[in-house]
């Protein structure tokens, strides 16, 4: 009995979807736009966080050591730094390596290289490149290094210079930009999603408004609420499924087309690769939102007209 009812409700919903062709088409169209916005927001947040990640990783603090600092001392400091919770990564560049890098950077500059040859000893000290997990944490690390240097003041200090103080304003500004970009992006995305969901919701309400007299007739000839509502919810689900399939299909050529340019522009994130790699999640989110939106909108919209 229950199974017969379910079967009849699903069949009636599918038949209505098909017979109200034009209304279904417009609802699917509007819902496709909504789902497209939702998908677009996912891409946007992915590219945004990838770019921010990329920018963040370019920021570091360099510790220049005295030429007299021994390798053991430096390795010891590196060990201490790595144990700090704010520190993500520490790269050690030895004096020899620093000299190599310097030579490479100036390979076309004969004069500088010659001057270097004149010197009796390697003039460059070793360097530690420190990366923090968050740009805002560099200050703490720099302060720590300062106190560390002060601690070893009994002997000769090993640190020559920490360039955080030169970069301070730039780093501060960058942290601010990243923070506001994230907040703004989130707020914009939220707004877009809310607006498009309400448009889809109202489109479905209009679609059901067209059937309001029919709903009244069904009540008067003795149909229960469930039996009236069921087919509308089924149609709503079908709107959602169709719109989701269209959206997912549209994203494929679109991301393919945009893939290379996004890779160049957003430093490393290829939206096409991202889409194909995360297709499962996309499918669940887009189809899930479509089905939920269609079903809930229909359910709520029918309620108004059941009052007979």
């Amino acid at each position: 009995m229950v199974w017969t009812s379910i079967k009849r409700v699903i069949k009636a919903g599918a038949v209505n979807f098909y017979r109200n062709g034009f209304v279904s088409l417009s609802s699917v169209f509007i819902m496709t736009i909504t789902l497209f916005v939702i998908g677009g927001v996912i891409f946007l947040s992915a590219t945004l966080s990838a770019s921010l990640e990329e920018i963040k990783s370019k920021v570091d603090v360099n510790v220049y050591f005295q030429t007299s600092a021994s390798e053991e001392e430096i390795t010891a400091l590196k060990g201490i730094l790595l144990r700090l919770p704010e520190v993500k990564d520490v790269e050690y560049i030895s004096r020899e390596q620093a000299l190599e890098n310097f030579k490479k950077r100036h390979e076309n500059d004969e004069l500088t290289l010659q001057a270097l040859e004149e010197l009796p000893d390697n003039p460059l000290g070793a360097v530690l490149n420190i990366r923090a997990k968050e740009p805002s944490e560099y200050e703490g690390i720099a302060n720590f290094l300062k106190s560390e240097n002060a601690l070893s003041s009994g002997s000769t200090p090993i640190i020559d210079e920490v360039n955080y103080y030169d970069h301070k304003t730039a780093i501060d500004r960058l942290s601010n930009i990243i923070r506001s970009a994230q907040t703004l992006g989130l707020a914009l995305a939220f707004l877009l999603v809310v607006v498009s969901i309400s448009i889809a919701f109202n489109t479905i309400r209009l679609a059901i408004y067209i059937s309001r007299e029919e709903i009244g007739v069904m009540r008067l000839v003795g149909a229960s609420d469930k039996y009236i509502r069921g087919p509308f919810v089924v149609s709503g689900v079908l709107y959602g499924v169709s719109a989701a399939l269209i959206t997912l299909a549209l994203f494929y050529p679109l991301t393919y087309y945009l893939g290379d340019s996004t890779e160049d522009f957003f430093s490393g994130l290829n939206v096409f690769r991202y889409y194909t790699l995360h297709f499962g999640e996309f499918f669940l989110i887009i189809a899930g939102s479509g089905i939920a939106l269609g079903a809930v909108s229909s359910f709520l919209a029918v309620r108004r007209y059941l009052n007979v």
Partner: protein, 225 residues
């Protein structure tokens, strides 16, 4: 079977029905006549619980129908076959499906539907229009589909509100013949109409209404206004 007990209905202070009391017996054929605005349609809407009285009550058997809870209402309505002047068919369903819908929601099986729907459509002489949509049918045909829908679940009562109001004389005659046949088969029929010819040809009980009151109740009445 149906007892109206001092039914009063007011709309914004205007009295549409004024302490109406009468009883409809089982298997009776009752016609309600009167000018527009006399309250006939309001009275029928009360039976369907489409409208609620300002005071008074309607007993169906022993049940006060206006005290029924919302979730019990549809079960009560299945005991009534309703026919309207504007047909009220479901536009996106064929003649067959319109009738099948009434059976489906009453929980009838697929095999019963497959057997009964063609039978009632044959009864109203529409066997060949089974798969047509309402928009493809004439007024008289639509009303016959509506009648088939009203009787397919074998209701206790058929109420018909101006069923011939928008039909030509030949279709009117046919619809009245079908209603008579339904009544002869043992179903109570309550009919409202303006049509003098219909009433005079029936020779059944006639209740005449004027300004929300019953002014005449003849057991074998004629149309007198």
């Amino acid at each position: 079977m149906i007892h109206f007990d001092k039914i009063t209905k007011k709309y914004n202070g205007c009295v549409a029905l004024d302490e109406i009391s009468f009883t409809v017996k089982p298997k009776e054929f009752v016609s309600l006549v009167g000018h527009s605005g006399a309250g006939k349609t309001t009275l029928l809407k009360m039976i369907l619980v489409e409208e609620r009285p300002s005071s008074g009550s309607i007993l169906f058997g022993s049940v006060n129908i206006h005290a029924l809870k919302r979730n019990k209402l549809h079960k009560y309505r299945r005991k009534i076959g309703a026919i309207f002047q504007d047909f009220r068919l479901l536009p996106n369903k064929t003649a067959f499906e319109n009738i099948a819908f009434a059976m489906e929601m009453a929980g009838r099986s697929d095999s019963e539907i497959a057997a009964d729907v063609p039978y009632v459509l044959e009864m109203v002489d529409l066997g060949d229009k089974m798969w047509n949509f309402p928009r493809e049918l004439s007024g008289g045909e639509k009303q016959r589909v509506a009648i088939a829908r009203a009787i397919v679940n074998q209701p206790d009562v058929v109420i018909a509100d101006e069923p011939t109001g928008s039909l030509d004389p030949i279709n009117t005659y046919e619809i009245v013949q079908i209603l008579k046949k339904i009544n002869d088969l043992g179903t109570t029929v309550i009919l409202t109409t303006h049509n003098k010819g219909v009433i005079d040809s029936l020779g059944k009980r006639v209740i005449t209404m004027e300004k929300g009151r019953i002014i005449r109740d003849d057991p074998t009445g004629r149309y007198v206004l």
